[in-house]
Symmetry: C2
């Protein structure tokens, strides 16, 4: 396998953390997004959607979404379950991970991409050009703030997001909070549950990657 990564981007970082938590070592190919390497002929041939992360399997099959890559690795290496060890856990973790991605991670991304000059004509992830919509800067930020409020309440009676054990939902939420700094958004200091949880996740080896 080969993992196409970019050290500075939030989406591949989710997969990087997932791989580390699984205890896997997968050869990494760094993609230089800052210099638009994702638009190069070689990369477009690998992934026409022009995004990272990409996982290339030994038979040449490519998976090019965080969802597909993590589901594949979970099925191959179930020994350290990150998407649930039984049906109920799988349902609950998938439920939470979807919500965190939609309401947290993608909301931050919406605010960021519709403002940053670097994404003037690429306000939507992928190969198609879309102009920025300035109103989304504030709407994405407001949604991210609502997400943080929900997460703080959700963590009032849970050590980890899905309950007693660390899961992919913790990864997605942790990286959402890190990504939120790109839009200068920090959780309010009185979100005590959220800060307690964040400190615990940040102390894990996988969080430093």
């Amino acid at each position: 396998m080969k993992f196409y990564d970019c050290a500075t981007a939030p989406s591949p970082r989710r997969v990087r953390m997932f791989i580390a938590e699984k205890g896997l070592v997968i050869p990494v190919v760094e993609v230089d997004l800052a210099n638009r390497e994702q638009h190069s002929d070689a990369f477009v041939k690998l992934n026409p959607h022009r995004t990272v992360p990409v996982l290339e399997l030994d038979d040449g099959t490519t998976l090019n979404t965080t969802s597909g890559i993590c589901q594949y690795l979970e099925a191959c290496f179930p020994q350290v379950p990150l998407i649930g060890a039984d049906p109920k856990e799988r349902g609950l973790i998938s439920d939470l991970d979807w919500r965190i991605e939609q309401e947290g991670f993608l909301a931050v991304g919406e605010s960021f991409r519709n403002r940053s000059k670097a994404f003037k004509n690429n306000a939507v992830t992928g190969q198609h050009e879309h102009s920025q919509i300035p109103e989304l800067v504030d709407r994405g930020r407001a949604r991210a703030e609502q997400f943080m409020q929900w997460l703080n309440e959700h963590l009032a009676q849970r050590e980890y997001i899905a309950g007693d054990g660390f899961s992919i939902a913790d990864i997605t939420a942790f990286i959402t909070l890190e990504f939120a700094r790109w839009i200068k958004l920090e959780p309010p200091t009185d979100y005590e549950n959220l800060h307690r949880w964040y400190s615990e996740i940040a102390a894990r080896d996988s969080a430093a990657l």
Copy 2:
């Protein structure tokens, strides 16, 4: 189990079709979205996010996203696999299903919810009020058109979206095309692969539900 459904809404229809393809019979509770039943005290207690679908398990646990519900049912009833029978299939199907949801289903929803008078202050799914952003009507539609073009090309050499077998990716894409009619968007007549595939899916018993 109980499945909280709404006969007219596209999101619960994805789960309805998934349940039918699995050959399961789960008692249904119809939620009257047109009369705002999702905002009732009883429903908010069940699902504070005020959305359908919801699957209530026999122990009272609730799953309230399509992702969580389908992952749960797949793990409980793997006999008819809809998210892949081995790791590679699981990865590929999850990859495609994520893309179809993001670039197809949610793009149509974005166009629809930012225009319809019924969603004037609820342009984003969920319990929080967000004003409509008129520019998203066109951007969502443009993204849905790009999605249809991609899907037509993708289906050139595949009977079903993930290859030889029917999967959840076919469900999400089929309901996306049905939903697209809400914004008066039909695939161009010369998208022959797409129309061939659509006719096959539409002929399944589960598509009539």
